[in-house]
Structures are given as structure tokens and as C-alpha cells.
């Protein structure tokens, strides 16, 4: 089982992607999708330096919903701050956040979330992965933001990947 399907999640996403990109899903397309879904992860195994293990799907689902909500909310906040920038310049600042997350894939996911949410940009990661430098667009209460960042994004990622 492990040899045929080294990455079940990747296989499942490839299968779904193939069917979505090649409508309408007839029997032939389902067959090709199955072949792609089985063959590509096997062929790509030498390219993957380490196994990714997703531990708690429910935490992952909750994280995705929380990130979606934060993206919409901060879209609104950043847009408003941009339009008001003449009267009230945004209080932009660099913030150094100490990290407890060490897993490489978890850090990659954290970087994707940080850049995806408007108003925060991932600027630099320390060599030993002990801290990250973020640039915040318009945050008045920095300690509250750090608390939110660690409890909403970092801790779920630690539960999922470590």
C-alpha cells in the first residue's frame, strides 16, 4: 500500500484536479485521472526530501476557515487604511516574532498564510528558525497581534505537522 500510494492526499488532489480541468468527466477521463494520480506521486518520490504527515484533519479544516475569515477581514481593513492614508498614515512597523514551530513544511505553510493575509508580509526567517521578522501594515496593538498570530496560526500548524 505504501509503495503504490506514497502520498494519498497528493493522489486525491491530483485526481480531483484532473477531473475539474477536463470536463465532462466520462469513463475515459476517470481512468486517465486514476493513472495520473497513482503514477505521479511514485515518480516524484525521489524529489521529496521528507515525508509530510498531516496529523489532525479537523484542526486543518478549522485553520483553513480561520485563515479565510482573516483574509476577508484584513482585505477590508487594509483597503480602508489605504483610502485613509492621506489623513492618517498607517502605523507600519517591523515585528520580530519568536517561533516554536520547527517543522519545515509547517514553516512553509505559515509563510503562505502570512503572505496571503493582507497587511502582513513575511520578511526574514532566522537561520536557526527561532524567529521570524514580519512587516505589519497597520497594527496599533502589537502584543495582541503577536498573541493572535501565535494562537491562530502557529499552534494549529504545530498540531498538524509535529
Amino acid at each position: 500500500m505504501k509503495r503504490i500510494l506514497p502520498a494519498p492526499l497528493l493522489s486525491l488532489s491530483l485526481f480531483a484536479l484532473w477531473l475539474v480541468l477536463n470536463p465532462p468527466p466520462g469513463a475515459g477521463q476517470v481512468l486517465i485521472a486514476a493513472i495520473v494520480a497513482v503514477a505521479l506521486p511514485v515518480a516524484a518520490t525521489p524529489l521529496r526530501p521528507q515525508r509530510v504527515r498531516i496529523r489532525r484533519p479537523w484542526v486543518l479544516l478549522r485553520l483553513i476557515l480561520a485563515v479565510g475569515r482573516d483574509v476577508i477581514l484584513s482585505n477590508w481593513l487594509v483597503g480602508r487604511a489605504v483610502l485613509r492614508a492621506g489623513a492618517r498614515p498607517p502605523s507600519a512597523a517591523f515585528v520580530r516574532i519568536p517561533l516554536e514551530l520547527r517543522d519545515v513544511n509547517g514553516l512553509a505553510a505559515l509563510a503562505v498564510i502570512t503572505t496571503g493575509v493582507p497587511g502582513t508580509v513575511w520578511s526574514e526567517l532566522a537561520r536557526d528558525r527561532s524567529a521570524v521578522l514580519l512587516h505589519l501594515f497597520d497594527v496599533d496593538d502589537v502584543p495582541a497581534f503577536v498573541e493572535h498570530y501565535k494562537s491562530c496560526y502557529e499552534r494549529p500548524l504545530m498540531e498538524i505537522f509535529e
Binding site: 489605504v82 498607517p90 537561520r127 521578522l133
Partner: protein
């Protein structure tokens, strides 16, 4: 009818988000502030257009046509790479010029 209203609303919302992002790109005063507005276009702007495309083509062909959701996913995977690279390049060059930015993390 409601399909067209939904598609029109989503499209105009995406256009406005992109416009606000461009205004920010021109108006804000420092480079690191200007790094933030483009995220409006690549998150909400892209989501809204993709949703409009899905709704419109699904109604047109009266079956689910979902291929547009690939666009937000591709953007979500590729944009962090370019954004982080641009931010690091900017930090590197500002430090070389002796600008007002924090020192490298691994030395502190």
C-alpha cells in the same frame, strides 16, 4: 437573472479591490508599506473573479464548471515565493545602503 446579478456584483467588487490596491501602490510613502496593497488584488480580487467565472459558466452550461478555482490556488502557491523574495531583496539592499531597517536576525 439572479445569476447575472451575482456575477456582476462579484466582478465589480474585484475591480474595486484591485483599484484600491493600485491606489495604495501609488499613494503610500515607504517601500515596505507599498508591499501590502497588492495582496488585495491577489486574494480578494482573484477569489471574486474566479467565483464569478464559476457561477457564470456553470449557469451557461447548466453543469458545474469549476476550473477557475485553479487560479486562486496557483496564486496562493506562487505569490508567497515572489513576495518573500522581494521583501528579502529590499531588506538586503536597504541594509547595504544603511537604511532604517532591523538588523539580520541571525546576528542578534
Amino acid at each position: 437573472m439572479w445569476v447575472e446579478a451575482a456575477v456582476a456584483t462579484l466582478l465589480v467588487a474585484s475591480g474595486l479591490a484591485t483599484l484600491v490596491a493600485a491606489i495604495g501602490l501609488v499613494r503610500l510613502t515607504s517601500f515596505f508599506q507599498r508591499m501590502h496593497p497588492p495582496a488585495l488584488a491577489s486574494t480578494f480580487g482573484a477569489w471574486a473573479v474566479a467565483a464569478a467565472s464559476i457561477v457564470y459558466f456553470s449557469a451557461l452550461e447548466s453543469r458545474p464548471v469549476l476550473h477557475a478555482w485553479v487560479i486562486p490556488i496557483v496564486l496562493a502557491i506562487t505569490l508567497p515565493v515572489t513576495t518573500v523574495l522581494i521583501a528579502r531583496a529590499a531588506l538586503f539592499r536597504k541594509r547595504q545602503r544603511g537604511g532604517d531597517v532591523p538588523p539580520p536576525l541571525h546576528e542578534s
